[in-house]
């Protein structure tokens, strides 16, 4: 993770849009790497790379472990129940924590009394959150210190139902739950606003009152300052790291042969991680140890070290197994800090896991959106202008933008966007599997679909006209083939239950995190370990690391012991933004290569051959020039002088430098999905029958796991398209479906038949040339379903989720 306290960091307002020159190396070599798609346009690319880099890996066909369907190395622990998640951790003397949370969407605390909770038998610590929770706290085990007093003006204003107020730690979860209820709070409730449309109107209750910028000027703020703040509106954002506005949009529309202008709305979706957010925090004078359900162990460590003023070396974060994050489990979180404060106060480890309701209320969500998308087209199909205005609310947080795909998915000379964040009195949003893009694609790809119809073109072929992305073109071709795509006119099916076909595409920028390191250790007994703080959040990171190490050493994946998810080991990347595979696997391969060279050096000495003459394959080390010189891997390691050889490597910059700027979206992580749906026009119910998902992610490391992740993206997309919706009661501010009963997710019978088409695509970027798949798999599904629904019924749905109510309304039936 970037650490801003290291030095002054200057943020580029608009990043450089040029492709950067390749990195310079003191000692470099030239390597030829596979480039392009096998069976299509595969060639070689010569790159100048550091002398330390391992030799180029050939395409998957020529490999033994990488690219092969490999069983998840930790599956056995998952299917037997042996895998220990944070929720399963129980330490000696461990206490259980529970939050007291705001029951009101907007209120001031009038009085607060924790004495009954402190006195409750079995309670060991109580902590009240002040506006700025202090890092140093007195120990209160046994309650021998006087109760803290709370200055009311130190307590934060409550701005959403579920906002944390205080927490207790007690001997059992039951006691903690009961004790938390004993904290007496008097509230002065205030007017609140929950809806996007109302919150952006004049006169709406304001979530954040005006800032008092100048203390000397306090008496003078008021109307004027409030106007400057534009109430609950923030923004607009007019660009992203892909650049700012371009061309002349008005001129573009004037030149357009036809213009489509549509409004779209998407709902708030909650992450619904099966394992809730939480930690077990164990404060000891010499070390803070935290078991965390997180997507970023190193990030949690950094947060806690900074918060408590500890050196990073005194904080250890462990995530052996974790039950889902989807973007929401970054940072220590208010629960992580609270558990640590309580542990410090009580002198005992504290487990603080959110309950299911809290998970919905406070652990993040995908902001909703209201998008007004106007696009100008030429009669040959070319897009001449795009203008996107959007509003979205992440509750009391910010980050509801949706504009990246409209900006960059298709070539268009004139582009403009204004994206506004709108504050409401609801829990904060969080990044959620392809944040912004999922919402944006729902709008963009429906307008493209309409344009295709207007032009009388097959939507697949139309995209060939406007989409520069070469690999995506291949995905469309292969996907359409697998799907049996044949364009039919909307509403062709005569029965009351109508079949429809649709497709949509998306993209995700290929990000990497260079702060990704790993250590590989080869032991004398032939065992091999790979170690990094990177965590496996269910995507299969452990397995791909084992595969990469095994491939390099000529072993099998199951021969490798993977030790990750622990900040004792070198820092790995956070698992989000589809960065993990592309960031950590080159580091792991490079470390393996280094360790291997050390091992081979010792073997070469014993055999008196050159290191370059030695090869490791099929569990053996042998001389390429002398077939009599051959031994098993274990025999070879037994020749080591020391008990182990070990090497650490970090992710080097991309071979050839990193592409950035406008061309970035033409990068590798495109996705194309086809959907077949049935729409019951008499009830309004939609059933997704089949999805074909065509994807590329560089070099596929483990096709079986990739299929699983793509399935997951599609299924999450089905939920987003048809079922999921955070429903707030407008009179009380409560989420009425904060459970897994009324917050509706797809279950077994909602699962379409999913077929995956994987394009193996080499870009000569790194020693593994792999990329992630998490985000791209989720992006186009809802749009593909929406287009299929339109194809079925001839009426378009502009709002998510596509519930029976909305289908019937679109049909004009009710």
């Amino acid at each position: 993770m970037a650490n801003p306290n290291k030095k002054k960091v200057v943020l580029p307002v608009a990043p450089d849009t040029k492709t950067h020159a390749p990195a310079k190396h003191l000692y470099s070599k030239k390597v030829k790497l596979p480039y392009g798609v096998p069976g299509h346009d595969l060639t070689e690319m010569e790159r100048e790379v550091s002398i330390d880099e391992p030799p180029a890996l050939p395409i998957n066909e020529k490999l033994n472990v990488i690219g092969k369907r490999t069983k998840r190395v930790d599956a056995i622990y998952k299917v037997t129940g042996a895998a220990k998640y944070t929720a399963d951790i129980k330490l000696p003397g461990m206490l259980y924590g529970k939050f007291l949370r705001s029951p009101h969407p907007h209120a001031r605390i009038k009085s607060l009394d924790v004495s009954a909770a402190r006195r409750f038998p079995g309670v060991h610590a109580v902590h009240v959150l002040k506006m700025e929770p202090g890092g140093s706290v007195e120990r209160e085990s046994g309650h021998d210190v006087p109760a803290e007093t709370y200055n009311l003006d130190e307590l934060p204003l409550l701005r959403y139902v579920g906002q944390p107020i205080a927490a207790v730690a007690a001997e059992s979860q039951y006691i903690a739950n009961e004790a938390a209820k004993l904290i007496k709070v008097e509230y002065e409730t205030k007017p609140f606003v929950l809806e996007l449309d109302k919150a952006r109107k004049k006169g709406a209750p304001i979530v954040f009152e005006e800032v008092i910028k100048d203390e000397g000027n306090e008496g003078d703020v008021g109307v004027q300052a409030a106007e400057e703040q534009k109430g609950n509106l923030r923004g607009p954002t007019t660009g992203s790291f892909l650049g700012g506005p371009r061309g002349d949009v008005e001129k573009g529309f004037a030149e357009a042969d036809f213009i489509l202008e549509k409004e779209f709305r998407t709902q708030v979706q909650t992450h619904c991680c099966l394992e809730t957010h939480g930690v077990v925090s164990d404060w000891k004078p010499d070390m803070l140890t935290v078991y965390a359900s997180t997507q970023n162990t190193a990030g949690v460590r950094d947060d806690l070290a900074e918060f408590f003023g500890l050196p990073k070396s005194k904080v250890r974060v462990i995530t052996e197994y974790m039950g889902g994050g989807f973007g929401s489990k970054f940072g220590a979180g208010h629960y992580g800090v609270m558990a640590t404060i309580l542990s410090k106060k009580a002198g005992r480890p504290v487990k603080l896991m959110l309950d299911r309701e809290e998970e919905h209320l406070v652990a993040g969500n995908r902001p909703n959106s209201h998008q007004m998308l106007k696009m100008g087209f030429k009669n040959d199909g070319k897009i001449i202008a795009i203008d996107l205005t959007s509003y979205g609310t992440a509750g009391v947080g910010l980050g509801a933008g949706v504009g990246r795909v409209a900006q960059d998915q298709y070539e268009c000379p004139n582009f403009r966007t204004a994206q506004y964040d709108v504050f409401t009195h609801a829990g904060p949003g969080a990044a959620f599997r392809a944040p912004g893009n999922v919402q944006g694609v729902f709008a963009l790809e429906q307008v493209i679909d309409e344009a295709a119809e207007r032009l009388g073109m097959d939507p697949v072929k139309y995209r060939d006209v406007i989409d520069k992305h070469e690999v995506r073109k291949l995905m469309r071709m292969k996907g359409a083939e697998a799907f049996g795509w044949k364009y039919k006119k909307p509403g062709y099916d005569p029965g009351p239950i109508k079949r429809g076909f649709g497709m949509a595409q998306g993209q995700w920028t290929r990000f990497i995190n260079l702060n990704s390191s790993a250590t590989v250790r080869i032991n004398k007994d032939g065992s091999v370990e790979v170690m990094s703080s990177v965590q496996d959040i269910g995507t299969g990171t452990k397995t791909i690391l084992a595969q990469v190490v095994a491939e390099e050493l000529g072993l099998m994946a199951e021969d490798i012991t993977v030790k990750i998810g622990d900040t004792l080991y070198p820092d790995g990347p956070g698992s989000g933004g589809s960065v993990t595979a592309g960031s950590i696997t080159p580091a792991v391969r490079n470390a393996t290569y280094k360790a291997k060279m050390e091992l081979l050096g010792q073997v070469a000495g014993a055999w008196d051959v050159e290191i370059s003459d030695l090869e490791t394959k099929n569990g053996e080390v042998y001389s390429k020039s002398d077939s009599s010189k051959k031994m098993s891997f274990g025999e070879a390691t037994n020749k080591m002088r020391t008990n182990q050889v070990m090497a650490t490597a970090s992710r080097p910059d991309d071979y050839g430098g990193f592409e950035i700027g406008n061309g970035i979206g033409y990068g590798r992580l495109g996705s194309v999905q086809f959907a077949e749906v049935l729409v019951d026009t008499e009830t309004g119910f939609i059933k997704v029958e089949r999805v074909v998902a065509a994807h590329s992610c560089g070099r596929p490391l483990n096709p079986m796991q990739l299929e699983s992740q793509i399935n997951g993206g599609v299924i999450m997309g089905v939920g987003y398209a048809l079922y999921e919706d955070r429903i707030l009661d407008l009179n009380t501010g409560h989420m009425v479906n904060a459970n897994l009963d009324q917050y509706k997710l797809p279950y077994s019978k909602e699962i379409p038949k999913i077929e995956t088409v994987l394009i193996e695509h080499y870009g000569a970027f790194s020693s593994t040339d792999a990329s992630g798949i998490g985000e791209p798999a989720n992006i186009p599904t809802a749009a593909a379903i929406a287009n299929a629904v339109y194809n079925a019924i001839g009426a378009r749905l502009y709002e998510l989720p596509m519930s029976p109510q909305k289908v019937l309304a679109a049909l004009g039936v009710s």
């Binding site: 009830t683 409560h734 009710s814």
Partner: protein
């Protein structure tokens, strides 16, 4: 979850003696851990306790009382089953599948396989509504003795379209929809002895009693459930529409039991679930079918009739159309 005492009742008589409250009563008047209530499968009871809206003082478990989990069928007397028969027992009974198709369909579409293994029929009929305001400890609604109905003025997409005046919750039992269509009866046992009443009389609309969905008193236990026999001419079906096909609550469900004489419908019972605070008979629609050969046209007429008098709320107008379709499809499916 509050702390409570627990006792395994050895017999019905002793259970009746031990109990002092119905669950609805415990939620309104006997609060603060003072109520002694009976527990069958416990799936709904635990849910209420976990939500903190029911705080019983003692649970009287009926599980150990012998004989309450028997199911029997004979041509003359029809189907009888005890309150501890589970939904899965109905689903797995060959007699139910063969003779009571609407009940079978309702059983297979209820809840989850796990819940069907646990939930008893006594508990199913006594379960409380799923209205999200009722289930939330943060909303003191009419059903819990409050004065406000949050659903009428709030989020009501899954609420009722009939009898919406006092409390527009819907009755949660989809099995009850089928049982009422079969003209089922329940036997209630209390300190004074047994009484048998029709299920259509068992459930009480909110207008009559907003805090309780049935007529069972605080010392009564369902001890038997009875369905009359069916014959060659009986045609029945049941369709449930949830937002999902997998585990879900009903957005609308319809049970139809027809007595056919060849093509002619002699008698009909049509019941809507998730349309009202009680399983709702649609007599007017039944009248449309009676004495007629059932054609699509007649069924459409009946469906229209069935929705007369509906008073949908702000967000559930779609249900009117939904029920028309469901009724049409259920009748057509029943006559094959």
């Amino acid at each position: 979850m509050n702390r409570f005492e627990y006792i395994k009742a050895p017999s019905i008589a002793e259970a009746i003696d031990m109990m002092d409250s119905t669950v609805p009563e415990a939620m309104v008047t006997k609060t603060g851990g003072s109520a002694k209530v009976v527990k069958a499968g416990g799936t709904d009871l635990l849910d209420l306790i976990k939500e903190g809206i029911l705080e019983p003082g003692r649970l009287i478990d009926l599980k150990n009382i012998p004989g309450l989990d028997k199911l029997s069928y004979d041509k003359k007397n029809g189907l009888q089953f005890g309150p501890m028969v589970t939904i899965a027992d109905l689903e797995n009974s060959p007699e139910v599948k063969k003779h009571y198709r609407a009940l079978y369909e309702a059983a297979t579409h209820a809840a989850t396989p796990q819940i069907r293994n646990m939930a008893t029929m006594g508990g199913n009929l006594m379960q409380r509504p799923r209205c999200w305001y009722f289930r939330s400890s943060g909303h003191h609604c009419r059903k819990k003795g409050g004065t406000t109905c949050f659903a009428q003025i709030g989020q009501n997409q899954f609420h009722s379209i009939f009898l919406t005046n006092v409390c527009p919750c819907v009755h949660p039992s989809s099995l009850a929809t089928a049982l009422v269509a079969y003209d089922g009866k329940v036997e209630l046992t209390g300190p004074e002895g047994k009484r048998v009443i029709a299920l259509s009389e068992f459930f009480t609309p909110s207008e009559v009693n907003v805090t309780c969905e049935n007529v069972a008193t605080n010392q009564e236990i369902i001890t038997n459930i009875m369905l009359p026999p069916v014959n060659e001419g009986t045609r029945a079906f049941y369709i449930k529409q949830g937002q999902r096909e997998s585990y879900d609550w009903s957005m609308g469900d319809v049970a139809v039991v027809l007595q056919m004489d060849g093509k002619k419908c002699q008698d009909a019972r049509i019941v809507f679930g998730a349309a009202a605070p009680i399983p709702l008979r649609r007599e007017a629609a039944e009248e449309v079918l009676k004495g007629k050969a059932i054609t699509e046209k007649v069924v459409v007429q009946a469906a229209k009739k069935a929705l007369e008098g509906a008073t949908p709320l702000a967000h559930n107008g779609y249900k009117v159309h939904l029920f028309q379709t469901l009724l049409k499809r259920t009748v057509m499916e029943a006559i094959g």
